[in-house]
């Protein structure tokens, strides 16, 4: 589904994006994500296609706000039956509850359900509407880590099975990574849309880089053109970055590398080829555990964040103060386009 919407209030926004399968809209808080969803549901004045001029009652757009908005005095079953009519309403509502694996709790009221269960009731209710478009506002923000994964699994599965265009809004990179298509809202417009892998590896702007956890970003100047790319000077460091559209020599540029893609050079395994070019001697300043991974802060000619999986750290046994060598594989070095820096 092609969406083209303009908002004036509460903020100016012009969003053009394609919603297919599970599409995630990523954006910082205050970027207008929720406003866009409310506009699509018809609850906020806006102009654009589709649904232009239709009242919320007429749009058949399923909308799950952050708080799920279940009716407190109705049971789960009655909530799901709300959009249904006729004698078969309760039977059909039960079928939808089965779809979200909640049939045994059909007669409970929202107060007697956990956060994750309430969300599934709200999902079943939205599906019972047989919507043309499904909108989910931060569906994982109120859930703990284990429920979060299950919730995204379920949403993903149901959306696929129903072939339902779904727009999910979040600022959670974990959820974003699971999208079929990832769009990023920045400065009142959709600045980038594509495969999540592409957006994570090649963010179009510095703002998007920050949003997708692309933490090692540096300013530099193009030193010279070389085979298949450019050499960039940042301070005393010279980094080789492949690019098909090299900026002119001496142009100011931004470049970066994801913390997951910084390699630690093992002294017993010398590097060869292009990797040997982007090598830095650094010292480990800080090691922070993050779940089953470690984030290292290393300092040298450049200061970098480095993420290590546990099995690598178990082998290397790095400690704060260690002197190590890191390599930035050219294919993981991302050169931001010049307008991204502005």
């Amino acid at each position: 589904m092609e969406i083209d919407y303009r908002l004036e209030r509460p903020l100016r926004l012009h969003a053009r994006l394609t919603v297919t399968d599970l599409t995630v809209l990523l954006g910082e808080s205050g970027s207008g994500k929720t406003s866009l969803l409310r506009a699509l549901a018809g609850l906020l004045r806006a102009s654009g296609r589709p649904f232009d001029g239709l009242r919320p009652e007429e749009r058949r757009v399923g909308f799950l706000p952050q708080g799920y908005a279940l009716v407190p005095h109705l049971t789960a079953l009655e909530n799901v039956a709300l959009p249904l009519a006729g004698r078969e309403a309760r039977v059909e509502a039960l079928r939808w509850l089965e779809r979200v694996e909640l049939a045994p709790l059909a007669l409970r009221r929202p107060a007697e359900l956990s956060g994750g269960e309430r969300q599934r009731v709200a999902l079943a209710r939205a599906l019972a509407l047989r919507p043309r478009l499904l909108l989910l506002d931060e569906p994982t923000s109120a859930l703990d880590a284990s429920t979060r994964e299950a919730a995204v699994d379920l949403i993903e599965r149901v959306v696929r099975e129903e072939g339902l265009p779904t727009l999910l809004v979040t600022h959670d990179p974990y959820v974003a990574a699971r999208a079929r298509s990832l769009a990023v809202l920045e400065a009142g417009t959709v600045r980038q849309q594509g495969d999540p892998e592409q957006v994570f590896a090649r963010p179009a702007t510095l703002g998007i880089a920050r949003l997708v956890g692309f933490s090692n970003v540096f300013a530099g100047r193009v030193r010279r053109h070389v085979e298949g790319g450019v050499e960039i000077a940042t301070g005393e460091v010279v980094v080789y970055a492949p690019t098909k559209t090299p900026p002119p020599p001496d142009a100011p540029v931004h470049w970066g590398v994801r913390p997951e893609e910084v390699m630690i050079v093992r002294p017993d395994r010398p590097l060869a080829g292009p990797v040997a070019r982007n090598r830095l001697e650094v010292q480990v300043r800080r090691i922070v555990r993050k779940g089953l991974a470690y984030t290292l802060r290393v300092e040298g000619p450049l200061a970098l964040d480095v993420t290590l999986p546990r099995h690598v750290q178990d082998r290397l046994r790095l400690a704060e103060g260690d002197r190590i060598e890191v390599a930035l594989k050219p294919r993981y070095v991302h050169l931001f386009s010049s307008e991204a820096s502005s």
Partner: protein, 220 residues
């Protein structure tokens, strides 16, 4: 005594019913709609809360007198049942309105909005979402208005005077008895009053508890 109590009941029932019809849409609008000069309007509506009943009664008497501003337009209601009914409605409005407003304030606007996206029109939204959510609050506000009118004295005396069968309600009847030193009858009437009020307030408390169990149930 029976006549006075029956009159009190009639006045209180009519007043409470009027307030239900007037107050519910008003409270709904004050909570959910954009109303111009809302604070000013609210201040005017809540004014009877702070005015002495005699002040309110005085103004109404002047307005409703045959040569008063309203009296000349046919609302010649001084010393009539309609007069004390109008006075009671105005005097109990703040109580009813406050209760109604609280009931609507407990409703999450988002739930109503999502109900719209689910295809529920205005009528269905009121019937299936809004009314089951707020009815204990609406009923408790109505009962409160009823009880408050039953106990009303100053406004009724100022506007209605003391006409048996027309404006002499129970509270004024008791005042009369004491003036006439008929303490035995006064004691009987007073004890009936205590019992009645107790039952009413108990009912309101019960409804409030019921209402809290509904509104508290969406706590996240």
């Amino acid at each position: 005594m029976t006549e006075a109590f029956l009159l009190s009941f009639r006045l209180a029932s009519l007043t409470a019913l009027t307030l239900l019809v007037l107050g519910v849409p008003l409270a709904y609008a004050l909570v959910f709609k954009r109303v111009p000069l809302k604070p000013l309007l609210e201040a005017v509506l809540l004014l009877p809360l702070t005015l002495p009943p005699t002040v309110l009664g005085y103004y109404l008497l002047v307005l409703l007198a045959p040569e008063g501003v309203l009296g000349r337009w046919g609302l010649d209601w001084a010393f009539t049942f309609q007069g004390i009914w109008l006075g009671s409605v105005i005097f109990s409005l703040p109580f009813a309105l406050t209760a109604f407003r609280e009931a609507f304030q407990a409703v999450e606007l988002e739930v109503l909005e999502v109900a719209r996206t689910l295809g529920l029109g205005t009528l269905k939204r009121w019937r299936r979402v809004l009314l089951p959510w707020v009815w204990p609050g609406l009923l408790s506000g109505t009962l409160l208005a009823f009880a408050h009118t039953l106990g009303e004295f100053g406004v009724v005396l100022m506007i209605g005077g003391n006409l048996p069968g027309e404006t002499r309600v129970a509270s004024i009847y008791i005042f009369d008895l004491v003036q006439a030193l008929e303490f035995e009858e006064a004691a009987r009437a007073a004890s009936v009053f205590v019992l009645l009020s107790f039952v009413l307030v108990l009912g309101v408390r019960f409804l409030e508890a019921r209402w809290r169990s509904i509104t508290g149930s969406n706590a996240r």
